[in-house]
């Protein structure tokens, strides 16, 4: 059978196959094509004439039972069916002869399924779905073939499951029903059922007796003259239902054939070298991941930014802010300066002085004709109370309907606790200026908050009714859905040179790239001022600067702290950035105002919520970025290295120690059979209870630091950290000694401990990489030594070295090291983290203490492990040998 043994596609073979198609198959194909050609014209609707329509079947229309397989819905349908039918039909005809095929396919094999279909469709389902096409035949023949295959080769082995081969057409049937539109499941099913019955030989009696056929052939000479006619002598098999033999040659046992196919993979699987590979593979993954990251800033791997949302049209409008607005700005600046002295810290805590500032601000905005509202909030974190009052004003869109809004935030103090005098005065001036325009399609909300993190957070939470009403007030006034937010952080008193865009959100969430691109295009392109990202005040667009920008961005993203008033908006899918003027230049407050005006005009143009461009990206220069598809493999490779190692350890733990290999070294001369026997011995029983218990305890212990650092009062944070660091250094030794003294774990159990903890780590990091790429990569790299840790029962030196290495990459040590590097106080860092945890809902502590730390603890325990290996070795070898023999 040329087609079935075809190994590679070969045109000449296909041609010869097509030219040697037997007569009936040809006739069927030609008929199908002919009917399709007839169907092209519109005078006579061949489809309604010939299709199998249950309601149309009567005595005079029984022809439909035979015509429907030839008629197809369209050319695609016809081609698909011809392709599927040809090889099956060809084989059938070759095996049974043309005459038998003709008799069967114009008789029972078509009418029986159609009767089944008609009966079920009309009397059971009581509907009237017309069917056509040869696919019923395809399934019928497939059913017959499947039964025959089943008799020869009963099971497909997938992993450890035996799947009977006769079920494959059913899978195919379901697949076709699910994926191909308007395919008739019932029609195919009836074909398949008849195919099965036929294949099982119950329909033998329907085939015309051979004697009669021979008689017919001898009488009607014309058959012999027809080309490609398969007569009774040429047909491959005798009667229906006889087991086939392969292509005229005697049957070679199918099992041996399978063995031949399978041996390659099996041999590879049993090769002991395979088990030596994973550590190198893991190392390779880490290295490739790191190198991948460092390739990103190159021109070939990063892309230029572009505006994806055409509605934004950044920098396409003239901005008119300026002129006499500067006089107004100066007046507001005086008003703001007059309020500065009043915001002393005592009043800040009582909240009374705040109302005085807000009284003034509220009277100014109300004088402009805006609606104003206020909101009190109180947060507590690390024993400190953060409270204040927000004041905000809504400029209602002149012809709008409160369906959408954009926000301008000016915090009274920026994140560095500098007074944002210019920012607040500018926001007031802009409110007055925006009020004059009639083109706003969205409401504009002007928000002044006492600080840069808690105030905006309270406001946004309350705006979306996600606040805890016992601590944060509800908003008295609301507008529509927020479409975007811009925060001004303008504490610099002198003229500035460039604008710094801060865009990091809480938990590494980022605003839509289109927003940043719009600001870059307006500030850089239209206003002619510089734009900087990630505090890179001077950027020469070369590799080192790009890399530095990217790494700074990744660090901020990984930490997940709020970086400005805009950060609180991003979790609610409100795209936001903070604009900070910096440097010494000639741009004044009016230029800053024009940048904001231009940005607001762009946001005002939006018809839809920002959705077009990227939400996952790394920026490395103001006009260069990489998107998630390009950078994600880096973190994924690092995460996968743990998974590879975990799987390798699991496999290894199931195999009898390394003794067989050693034995094989000596016994190599004895021949392959011995090793083969060894490798095919059943897997060693794994003792799972202890490893699972250890890993679970490590995970649960993580609650201690998580709770401690988030709930300790501020003055206790540093002492708590010192105590925890000492505890952290001692804990692995304590746990390890308890383990060895009371449970005496075997080497296999140490392998399993490590396997489980690495499996968890790999799983967590891989999922985290899609949410917060940078955090996953940072934790993955810091935890990467864990992959290569193992017990060193014989070598105390190596064990000590490994312990020291692990202690230098422990979470506590890394925290101390980074605090020292950035010259920060550990207590202050922990206070910030606790604040972010309570106020912004930052979740990096969960990743550090509940993902990284347990894995580190389990790794340390396994390094310190002293298994009773020397004692046990002999006994295990003995058991293995007894099993092997």
């Amino acid at each position: 059978m040329p087609s079935t043994n075809a190994v590679s596609f070969n045109t000449s073979r296909v041609r010869s196959y097509v030219f040697r198609l037997p007569l009936f198959t040809r006739a069927v194909i030609i008929a199908i094509v002919a009917f399709w050609v007839i169907g092209v014209q519109s005078l006579w609707d061949v489809r309604t004439w010939g299709a199998l329509i249950p309601d149309e079947i009567g005595i005079t229309t029984l022809y439909r039972l035979n015509t429907f397989p030839f008629i197809h819905l369209n050319a695609f349908h016809a081609i698909m069916n011809i392709l599927a039918l040809t090889p099956l039909m060809e084989r059938f005809e070759a095996e049974h002869g043309t005459l038998t095929s003709l008799a069967l396919f114009f008789g029972p094999l078509t009418t029986i399924p159609s009767f089944i279909y008609l009966f079920v469709e009309k009397f059971v389902l009581r509907s009237n779905t017309s069917v056509m096409g040869a696919s019923m035949w395809v399934f019928l023949l497939l059913g017959m073939e499947a039964i025959r295959t089943y008799k020869v080769n009963p099971y497909l082995v997938v992993a450890t499951h035996n799947i009977p081969t006769w079920t494959t057409p059913i899978a195919l049937l379901l697949c076709v029903a699910a994926l191909v539109p308007s395919s008739s499941f019932l029609g195919h099913l009836s074909g398949l059922v008849v195919g099965y019955i036929c294949g099982l030989g119950y329909l033998k009696f329907l085939a015309p007796p051979e004697k009669i056929l021979r008689w017919v052939e001898s009488k009607v000479n014309i058959f012999g003259r027809l080309p490609y006619y398969v007569n009774m002598d040429q047909k491959t098999y005798g009667r229906f239902g006889v087991l086939p033999s392969s292509g005229g040659s005697p049957i070679g046992g199918p099992t041996t054939a399978k063995g031949v196919v399978g041996t390659g993979a099996l041999r590879l699987r049993r090769d002991p070298r395979i088990l030596k590979l994973p550590p190198y593979l893991s190392l390779l993954c880490i290295l490739v991941g790191v190198v991948w990251l460092f390739l990103l800033p190159l021109d070939d791997y990063s892309r230029r930014t572009y505006i994806s949302e055409n509605a934004l049209l950044p920098g396409q409008v003239h901005t008119y802010f300026g002129g006499s607005d500067q006089n107004v700005f100066r007046a507001y600046k005086h008003e703001v300066n007059a309020l500065v002295g009043k915001s002393n810290i005592e009043c800040w805590l009582t909240g009374l002085c705040w109302s005085r500032i807000n009284d003034k601000l509220e009277s100014i905005v109300k004088g402009l004709g805006l609606k104003a509202g206020r909101q009190n909030f109180t947060y507590s974190a690390a024993g400190l109370v953060y409270s204040g009052e927000n004041v905000y004003a809504i400029l209602q869109a002149p012809r709008g309907d409160a369906t959408e809004a954009i926000v301008l935030v000016a915090a009274w103090e920026n994140v560095k606790q500098e007074l944002n005098r210019n920012g607040v005065a500018l926001a007031l001036t802009l409110a007055r200026y925006f009020k004059r325009w009639s083109l706003w399609s969205k409401d504009i909300v002007f928000l002044v908050t006492p600080d840069s993190i808690a105030g905006p957070q309270a406001w946004v939470d309350a705006y979306h009714d996600a606040h805890d009403s016992s601590r944060v007030d509800s908003l008295p006034l609301k507008s529509g859905a927020l479409q975007g937010a811009i925060a001004i952080d303008y504490s610099q008193e002198s003229r500035f040179e460039s604008v710094h865009i801060v865009y990091d959100g809480v938990n590494g969430q980022l605003p839509n790239l289109d927003l940043i691109n719009s600001v870059v295009s307006i500030a850089g392109g239209q206003m002619g001022m510089g734009v900087a990202l990630q505090e890179m005040w001077h950027h020469n667009d070369q590799y080192p600067d790009r890399l530095r920008t990217m790494l700074r961005g990744m660090l901020k993203q990984g930490l997940g702290l709020a970086s400005g008033p805009h950060s609180s908006f991003i979790p609610y899918h409100v795209d936001a950035v903070t604009l900070q003027p910096f440097g010494d230049g000639w741009q004044d407050e009016m230029a800053m105002g024009r940048v904001i005006e231009g940005t607001f005009r762009s946001l005002n143009n939006l018809l839809e919520h920002l959705h077009q461009s990227f939400f996952f990206y790394l920026l490395m220069q103001r006009e260069r970025f990489v998107s998630i598809g390009t950078y994600l493999p880096s973190a994924m490779l690092v995460a996968i290295n743990f998974t590879i190692m975990a799987i390798a350890l699991w496999v290894k733990s199931g195999q009898p120690e390394s003794t067989p290999a050693k034995a094989a070294d000596g016994a190599e001369a004895a021949g392959e059979t011995v090793t083969k026997l060894n490798t095919s011995t059943p897997a060693v029983e794994r003792e799972l209870f202890l490893p699972l218990g250890v890993v679970t305890i490590c995970q649960f212990l993580a609650v201690i630091p998580l709770y401690l650092f988030n709930h300790a009062p501020e003055n206790m944070l540093t002492p708590a950290f010192v105590i925890f660091a000492v505890f952290n250094a001692v804990l692995p030794h304590a746990l390890s000694s308890v383990l060895t003294n009371y449970y005496a774990p075997s080497a296999q159990q140490y392998q399993l401990i490590k396997s489980f903890s690495l499996l968890l780590l790999g799983m967590f990091l891989a999922s985290l990489a899609t949410l917060n790429f940078s955090l996953a990569l940072l934790v993955g790299l810091l935890a990467s030594p864990l992959t290569f840790m193992r017990p060193w029962p014989q070598s105390p030196v190596l064990r000590a070295a490994c312990t020291v290495l692990l202690n230098t990459v422990s979470p506590t040590a890394i925290l101390v090291a980074s605090a020292a590097y950035w010259r920060l106080d550990v207590g202050a860092i922990l206070r910030e983290v606790a604040f972010a945890w309570h106020v912004c809902g930052m979740n990096s502590p969960v990743v550090v203490w509940c993902v990284w730390w347990p894995a580190w603890l389990a790794g340390s325990i396994s390094v310190l492990g002293k298994s009773e290996e020397t004692k046990k070795k002999t006994s295990t070898v003995a058991t293995v040998k007894t099993k092997a023999l």
């Binding site: 046992g253 006089n327 004709g369 018809l607």
Partner: protein
């Protein structure tokens, strides 16, 4: 002869009758509002005897509309085109007590005479499609999903004979996303007897009307039967608009609000830091001076000659203390209440009106709010303030919260709150709760909500209809809240701007008339703003992914299974030799022959030294 005579007589009679019975009048009421706004309220009313109307004898009644009404058996019709929002906090009660306005977009409700609901639906379809063509609005999109049959909120305004009342069906449809614009104004003006050629309608210009902070166009058709007279069909066309005086005074050729030159800024000179380059603005503290020609860009070009001379065409609501300048020949009539005055315009006179700002009092201090109110007619406090917004976030569920505030210190307010929500917002009725601000718990909601009518939505067939009758105690704020679930639409049901969100129509609040003696059903109407509901929106590159996925699955399944089914396994030694081995064999053979040949050659060379054999 006799027949001809009788025909003439009939014609003459009917003409007389018609001229006597047709009445048309128009009036423009101007009322300055706080924060330099001006409410201009245009009203055009004409009526015709019902018998004449039924005889297809329209006179001032617009024929195009009349024929549609007759064709669709419409007994009463209300059509609203609205844009913007009424700022009740600053502007007070709504004009016409809210009876002549709708929610944002287009609103239509009508009473149709029909035997069955199906017939009513059929006539409603006819009506919406015809009106859609007449007013260039997408009214034909008011299909089953956007149509409701309110039960409590609406009552017919006209007088209907008892015979028809039983067969009248009220249908209500709303299009919140429809943007009202000039193309709707033009057909609206064409219905007027004087079009926009004369009378107050000459002021109506798309540029000004649609630059207004709030505007509402309304058409109301209803039969009225005064006692002792025949019934008449009355059509009332109303346009209300609130102009921002400062914005409207900007010349049309220079509409950009460039910053004024420094010396033109109005500054608060009392500030200690006031200087030439420092100016605390005092813009909004004073109500501004304006004239009709400044605001509308033109004057009223002579009165409409068809109008009833008994009704003054222009009225202005300002206290008598303020001076008003009008064109020469115009007669000013002050009303006895001292708060408004009207103007009679003689024919062939162009009317202009100019209101100078109030006299500046020396030594004014602060924000000047107090003095503004004395220069303006204080508008009534509305009976109820309502504000509706979404709560929650995310794409799965949400909530709606309506804040209802009764400002009156001693009267409670009873009203009907009606929502017609699209079907893809599935509300949870059990979460509906009304609580008074400051109180928690459910016992309050029982006393607040008196009656609920709820008709659940059917997917893709009809929307949710929710009518709640409530009573709010004096001087209290009530929060009416309910939760809903957002359903996922089919791929093809998303509009092109799917990420914008889906508009949810305004809620209709009808405050019931507590005065039982009054024939009016509603004391006050108001609408909340519409909302924008964002549904879960697929990434629209999805079809591409689906095609790729499906093709791959089919290729794998079909290819793989077909291969398994059709392939015959044979033992390795029986089959043809594998290509590599064969190639190796072939190579070996080639090498061998090459070797052979080389050896032969060498042998030949050796042999050549021998005498060559003779050629044959």
């Amino acid at each position: 002869m006799h027949r001809i005579f009788s025909f003439f007589l009939f014609a003459l009679l009917s003409l007389n009758f018609a001229s006597a019975s047709s009445v048309y009048h128009e009036q423009l009421v101007l009322q300055p509002l706080p924060l330099s706004a001006l409410l201009a309220s245009f009203n055009f009313r004409s009526s015709t005897a019902l018998s004449a109307f039924e005889a297809h004898n329209f006179r001032f009644f617009p024929r195009s509309l009349g024929q549609i009404l007759q064709h669709a058996d419409t007994r009463e019709l209300h059509l609203r085109f609205t844009l913007g929002r009424w700022d009740a906090e600053s502007w007070g009660a709504r004009p016409w007590d809210g009876a002549r306005e709708g929610g944002t977009g287009v609103e239509l409700w009508a009473w149709l005479e029909a035997e069955t609901d199906e017939e009513a639906d059929q006539k409603w379809l006819t009506l919406t499609n015809a009106l859609s063509g007449l007013f260039c609005a997408s009214l034909n999109f008011i299909d089953g999903t956007r149509t409701t049959r309110p039960v409590m909120s609406f009552q017919p305004e006209g007088d209907h004979p008892n015979s028809t009342v039983n067969n009248m069906h009220l249908l209500y449809g709303v299009l919140p996303h429809e943007v009202v614009c000039t193309e709707n104004l033009t057909p609206f003006l064409k219905l007027l007897p004087c079009k926009s050629k004369a009378g107050i309608a000459t002021l109506l210009d798309g540029h000004k009307l649609f630059d207004a902070s709030w505007q509402s166009m309304a058409i109301d058709v209803r039969p009225v039967c005064p006692d002792g007279q025949g019934c008449r069909l009355e059509i009332e066309q109303t346009i209300d608009m609130v102009l921002d005086i400062e914005r409207s005074k900007r010349p049309r050729d220079n509409p950009i609000p460039r910053p004024a030159p420094g010396h033109e800024l109005k500054c608060d000179t009392s500030k200690p830091y006031h200087a030439d380059d420092t100016c605390f603005p005092a813009d909004y503290s004073t109500s501004q001076d304006w004239s009709l020609s400044q605001l509308f860009g033109k004057t009223i070009e002579r009165p409409c000659p068809l109008t009833d001379p008994g009704v003054p065409p222009v009225c202005l609501n300002v206290p008598d203390s303020r001076t008003v300048f009008v064109s020469h020949g115009v007669v000013e009539k002050k009303n006895p209440d001292g708060m408004s005055r009207c103007f009679d315009i003689p024919p062939e006179v162009d009317f202009n009106l100019s209101l100078p700002g109030p006299e500046q009092k020396e030594g004014e201090e602060g924000n000047g709010q107090i003095e503004v109110t004395s220069d303006l007619v204080k508008s009534k406090t509305p009976l109820l303030y309502a504000e509706r917004s979404f709560t929650g976030h995310g794409q799965e569920r949400g909530g709606v919260q309506t804040m209802l505030r009764n400002p009156s210190p001693d009267n409670e307010v009873e009203f009907i709150y009606m929502e017609s929500l699209p079907w893809f917002m599935r509300i949870y009725l059990h979460t509906m709760d009304a609580r008074i601000e400051g109180s928690y718990g459910h016992n309050s909601s029982n006393s607040l909500i008196e009656e609920v009518y709820y008709r659940p939505a059917l997917d893709r067939a009809r929307g949710t209809q929710l009518e709640v009758r409530m009573r709010i105690p004096p001087a209290s704020t009530v929060f009416l809240t309910y939760d809903f679930e957002k359903s996922i639409l089919r791929y093809t049901e998303y509009p092109p701007d799917a990420n914008r969100g889906f508009d949810v129509a305004a809620a209709v609040i009808t405050i019931l008339n507590s005065d039982k003696s009054s024939p009016r059903f509603a004391a006050y109407n108001l609408r909340t703003t519409s909302l924008l509901c964002s549904l879960p929106t697929p990434d629209f590159s999805m079809p591409y992914n689906v095609i790729i996925f499906t093709s791959t699955a089919i290729a794998l399944a079909f290819g793989g299974m077909f291969n398994i089914l059709v392939r015959r396994f044979v033992a390795a030694d029986e089959g043809p030799e594998s290509n590599l081995k064969a190639a190796g064999q072939r190579l070996k053979g080639r090498l061998a022959t090459l070797f052979e040949r080389l050896r032969n050659k060498r042998a030949g060379v050796v042999a050549e030294k021998q005498p060559a054999p003779a050629p044959q």
